[in-house]
């Protein structure tokens, strides 16, 4: 079958690979209809997460049709149209029972790597390096889905493939940030990053009752989507001082909840940006945390900062004093998608959560290298490149 693979730093290829097979009783095989790029893939492409092997199949956000089921699968059937969560979770360990699915104890067959880095291992993830399991990704004609009863959800009638696709990761990640940060009616929420995850965090905050929601970015086409499709207020950080703007807009308090949806390659203007770039290139810090710093400084006293962007290890100049003295709560997580997907699909079916606008570039799989290039360079208004492995 054809698949898009990581073949080196900033190098994506499309090549022939073997088809997946059922390896465990709880597996299904899914014929991939749609599979999208995600901002976190750029960390793999750029070599910031150095646990990829040439030939690894990329992609972790996808939907498709079940074409084969393992003997232990009880709830999925051949022919089901499903959206699959990006993290692989068993559903039976203590973490899964607490609905902390991305922390699954049994989903990552390579726990030694991440335990060495972080002291504990999260669950596995499709197409996201050998540090989280080495599972083949979804930019392929077919994919093996372990623990399918837990992580594959039937898409309701009336929800389009494109809308459902983003329930896999972008919407569930955004929803998690808004909900686990404790968004309540009347809250003011600010979101850093107007990519797919940031936009969906903003939309989730609105559905959870937030009174005002701001999204911060610099790309005009993404800020336009925030206004037009999400219904939130947009702040262009290249044209204004974000901290001053947020203070002015919130009666001097700052947002109740600040959600960071940017990750380890954050851009920032001026000397701060240069500082982070230099330190990262010299390996004096692994990640560039500009958006997290700003979120901490913007947040009102006693508020909550939620880190949705992917970070690998260590950052510099983290304002821990502000966290402590302002009494902030700081949370973060890889996505517990299985917890939020049923509710998200209901909102999608009612037309309250729309995502089709994110798919700015729908391409055949053979054009994956071009799709990733546009997505990385943010050219041609690309918000997400979506691949159609079967045309």
């Amino acid at each position: 079958m054809r698949a898009a693979t990581w073949t080196g730093v900033n190098e994506v290829s499309v090549e022939e690979v073997p088809e997946p097979t059922i390896l465990n009783d709880h597996d299904v095989i899914v014929k991939v209809r749609l599979s999208t790029t995600c901002g976190s893939d750029l960390h793999l492409l750029g070599g910031y997460i150095p646990f990829m092997r040439a030939g690894d199949v990329l992609g972790h956000e996808f939907m498709g049709e079940v074409v084969e089921v393992g003997p232990g699968v009880r709830q999925r059937r051949v022919g089901d149209r499903v959206v699959v969560n990006s993290f692989i979770a068993c559903g039976n360990c203590w973490y899964c029972r607490q609905q902390l699915f991305s922390l699954c104890d049994n989903g990552n067959p390579n726990p030694g790597i991440t335990e060495g880095l972080w002291g504990q291992s999260p669950g596995g993830c499709f197409g996201y390096s050998h540090a989280v399991g080495g599972f083949a990704g979804s930019h392929a004609e077919y994919i093996r889905v372990p623990y399918a009863d837990v992580g594959a959800f039937v898409v309701p009638e009336g929800v389009s493939d494109t809308r459902a696709l983003f329930a896999s990761d972008a919407v569930s990640t955004g929803w998690m940030g808004a909900e686990l940060a404790g968004t309540e009616p009347g809250d003011v929420v600010a979101v850093w990053g107007a990519g797919g995850v940031g936009q969906m965090a903003a939309r989730a905050a609105m559905l959870l009752g937030a009174e005002r929601v701001f999204v911060i970015d610099r790309l005009p086409e993404r800020l336009a989507q925030v206004r037009q499709h999400v219904g939130a207020e947009a702040i262009d950080y290249s044209a204004t001082d974000v901290l001053a703007e947020l203070r002015e807009q919130t009666g001097g308090r700052g947002p109740d909840i600040c959600i960071e949806a940017v990750g380890m390659e954050a851009h920032s203007p001026g000397t701060h940006g240069v500082y982070d770039q230099v330190k990262q290139q010299l390996r004096l810090q692994t990640d560039r945390p500009a958006a997290v710093r700003e979120a901490v400084l913007a947040c009102r006293k006693g508020g909550t900062v939620f880190v949705l962007g992917v970070f690998a290890a260590a950052v510099d100049k983290f304002p821990l004093g502000a966290v402590m003295n302002k009494g902030l709560t700081v949370r973060g997580a890889q996505v517990h998608g299985q917890r939020f997907t049923p509710r998200i699909l209901e909102h999608m079916a009612r037309g309250e959560l729309v995502t089709e606008h994110l798919a700015t570039h729908v391409l055949p799989l053979d054009e994956a290298p071009r799709g990733y290039q546009m997505f990385k360079d943010k050219t041609d208004g690309c918000v997400r490149a979506v691949f159609t492995p079967h045309g």
Binding site: M1, A3, T5, T7, G8, S13, E15, E16, V17, P18, E19, P20, T21, L23, N24, D25, H26, P50, F51, M52, R53, A54, G55, D56, V57, G72, I88, C90, N92, C93, W94, R97, D105, N106, G107, P109, N110, P111, G112, I113, E115, G116, L117, W118, G119, Q120, S121, G124, H130, G133, G134, F135, A136, A140, R144, P146, Y147, A313, A314
Partner: protein, 156 residues
Amino acid sequence: MDLATIMSRAAGLAGGAGGEALKRLQHVRLPGVGQSSVTDDARTAARRWRAVTVLTEPARLQEALPAPLAAFGDRLEVRVTPAPGDRGAELAARFRGPVTEEDIGQLRAALREAKALVEVGEVLRVDPQPHGHRKPTPQGAAVEGMAAKAPEEGVL
């Protein structure tokens, strides 16, 4: 010797080095990175209980030791205690006699497999996975070496 041969040989060395590097990583303490009991001497480390918490009744483990641990026979001491709250049972094991790093690695893997068998009924497999052409680079071989050793490494 042509370039391809040189790269292939370098990759072969790197594969072994990757596994070794992962083992070493467990014993390195950098600020903010690494979690191993680096201050333990080898004898103390060998005598520590290695433990997983399994979401099951302790009696289930006391009645029949999961096969991956039972395979060690009398070489292991095993301890099963109730975990606090609703967390199930703490399953701990250590060797009775002198051990090597290899032995401890096998015990780590066995404890993880035992937990998975009890909680899920099977151990999650990842091989074989679809993949494209594996260029024989040292970096790629190092990652492969790490992945191969990862089930036996970590802080457990």
